[in-house]
Symmetry: C3
Subunit: 343 residues, 3 copies
């Protein structure tokens, strides 16, 4: 169950070589990305002649040449050369995907090209702002993407999965978030706000501030189709002055986004930024290292969950209060997917 | 084809950590085992909330806490705590399996809990008797369990598969065993008795006795549902005095038992004991090492056989005299399994 | 889609041990090959008793003994001994495949034994002629055999897949071959002739001749059922004298043949010979090494193609002029396969 009329991250900008071809699969479709004089292009990574992956061919200027029989395709996906023919037949072409670059991420639009609207790109502003610092992240999951959406829609798991990394207190699980629909700017998703008062700061917050006692923590995020989390989070000493946040608080902005690779595997792109005023390069690295440990904790648990489900797909879940946001997102996804199927 | 109303070995007692959770799958069902103040408990290794394996959580006293969202289950499988709720809903529970400890093995009852009867546990007495010595054994098979039952029901293979380990003479294959049904004590299975007169002793018997010539060998075993072999075997010099066995004979008692893990994989627990009066620790180790070599010979052959069958499932077998006992066991198993299906 | 009434290479002669059993699968059927006093025999590698592979047993004289229960089969596949029985029942036998040795290759006939005709064996003469030199080759493919047939039926790929090994010029792709049916000697297939005038010699030709300028190249081959390429190829300086070939030209003869292992995997046997008058042992080795690199280029591309097809089997190909020969061969194969199915 995927929504196709969406922007999906296909790569970090820096992953695309200056000269060369980059291959990654999204929504079950193999895609080749390469640089052109105009920027980038994304084509179906399958020669229309006999299915050879174009990414195994050669990058020639603004075009790609198939490495099997030498057909050449331009940045629009049109075949411009067939060895041994004077003129390439006009019906020879491969699909071109709308592509956009924003905040260091390359997005492809997997559905109807006419609906591709760059206004729908998520606002991952901290990823290329001088005011914010991060290290780019990527993980591959051998699990369906929906189980990772579930995880991101319910931060109660921080208390247990991430007890020693992002969590640090069972109060996170006990706090009840508020959940509101997001419809502004054409986006479709939910805003989840969770406040956790008077808890010990997690270790990675102490890299940034010299807290001596407990803190108030917050996690305010939007989770948008197809699977993008945009979050402001942080901590402040209990009773701290909101007006002096920049001097006293931990302020983080992060973005995590999911691109289904296949029905059972997923790409996970992420960055967690700290405000530049709050920590040096050592802090940037410490935050990243902590996040990698934490995201491997997630992946380990979600992989185990996915295997358990695959082993006994007939067994059902028992819904609990944790599941409000994730079930709302599943319903939204199902409705959008069904609407696309009917269109 | 499995019989569910049976005790299956889930683990050696020593495999269960003092503090921690032990996971193993039986009959396709993931099971978590842990110690309690009363002994042990075995629960379905799948949180009823969203399928996370409980074994990836934490052992807390006599309970297990799910590592994903923090639900806590007691030794009976009842949920006693949900983070953020005052009281856990009573319908939150996971299946608890009847569990029994006998002769160092932990058994679970995979069928109707009301029928679990400890009187049906096999009598693997030599496993924890001061009069008998062994080293505990375990192997994992990537083959269906029925092919291993076949193997254990027909010792003619000792002459060929185990020519240099347990066998040593083609006379074993030539000897015809007697086969009798076993129904005593509620057990269901067959007793197989094979006498092999006047053959050279196999190498591992010579670790125990200084035989100078040929011996008479015997293999007297019961093979009981679901797949448990209990055997007295040994050798005595040709013409030896039965009344002086303990001084002159090799006397072994062994137990091997199969627990299907999935339709295509199997757990194999085993021990082969020698009488304490007959051999020291070096003999115990030599017997074990010989057995490991021999059981890998079996596994190698049975795996090749399983692959051959999987590759051409439409090809049939040609029945021969070897197959009397194994076919009887297959018929018993099919009848019991059908009866359970109808119940 | 396989044609069964054909000779398939099962092994290089030197692969069969002097004492021992050789196992290889062809057309999904496991086959055991061993030497006899008469030469070689090939039997179904599956004991008719309970499916154990005979190749895991023992080679005894002109017979094989099953390693599970000791049944013995002679070179004709007849069971001659069952342990514990006075006389083996006459219905106990395994299939024997017609087998032929020609030019260092062992062939098995996979269809109706009565149709096995050694006159149909391909004429791979250079493989055991003192006038020709080569090093024997074998590769295993994890792809269906038909995709490799396609590759061998269309040498335009030399310009792209083998740009730096066998190719060296885009003129190869631009040249149009002539394609003629082959029906002589009961063979079924096509003759493909491709002439490429006035191109730089590929590096491996320069091992054999001191070309100073461009050459004329040629590739003249038959591609015969089930998947055997027999080729004369070479190069001669532009304007060279055909009458003085042996002094001035590169002359090669090669044979490559495919044996489907399963629906998705293939054995690839090959040799490329140079005329003994043209190059020493160093040249033989250089040609072989170049070929291994080139054939790995093919395998890499064909594997990627096979995966692309498997991932989206509903997507079709767009036929181009390259595909004339390969489509003719696919049609021939389909027709022969259908005819066998109806027979």
């Amino acid at each position: 169950m995927w929504v196709k009329n969406c922007w999906y991250v296909i790569a970090w900008e820096h992953e695309i070589p200056a000269n060369g071809l980059f291959a990654r699969t999204a929504l079950g479709e193999p895609i080749v990305v390469f640089r052109t004089t105009e920027g980038f292009t994304a084509l179906h990574d399958r020669c229309c002649h006999r299915a050879a992956p174009l990414s195994k061919g050669r990058h020639e200027g603004d075009a790609v040449r198939c490495g099997y029989h030498g057909l050449k395709f331009n940045a629009l996906g049109q075949c411009t050369e067939v060895p041994g023919m004077e003129k390439a037949p006009p019906h020879l072409q491969v699909r071109r995907y709308p592509l956009a670059l924003k905040n260091k991420w390359l997005f492809v639009w997997m559905g109807d090209a006419e609906k591709a609207d760059e206004a729908l790109l998520p606002d991952n502003f901290s990823n290329d702002s001088v005011d914010w610092k991060n290290i780019p992240g990527y993980l591959h999951y051998d699990t369906p993407y929906l189980l990772i959406c579930d995880n991101l829609m319910d931060f109660s798991h921080l208390s247990y999965v991430h007890e020693k990394t992002l969590g640090g207190s069972t109060a996170i699980a006990q706090a009840r978030p508020t959940i509101e629909p997001v419809t502004a700017r054409g986006q479709r998703g939910f805003k989840v706000s969770r406040h956790v008062p008077d808890v010990p700061p997690p270790a990675y917050h102490r890299h940034m501030r010299q807290f001596t006692g407990n803190v108030d923590r917050w996690f305010i995020y939007e989770f948008l189709l197809p699977g993008t989390l945009l979050m402001h989070s942080g901590s402040r000493r209990v009773g701290g002055d909101p007006a002096r946040d920049m001097d006293e608080a931990v302020l983080l902005h992060s973005c995590q986004t999911l691109t289904p690779e296949t029905e059972t595997t997923t790409h996970y792109f992420f960055q967690q930024s700290h405000h530049a005023a709050c920590g040096d390069a050592g802090v940037t690295e410490a935050i990243y290292n902590n996040l990698i440990v934490a995201f491997n904790e997630d992946r380990d648990m979600i992989s185990a969950q996915a295997q358990a489900i695959a082993r006994a797909p007939h067994l059902t879940f028992v819904p609990l209060h944790f599941d409000g946001a994730l079930n709302s997102f599943r319903q939204l996804l199902a409705a959008e997917s069904a609407a696309e199927g009917q269109a």
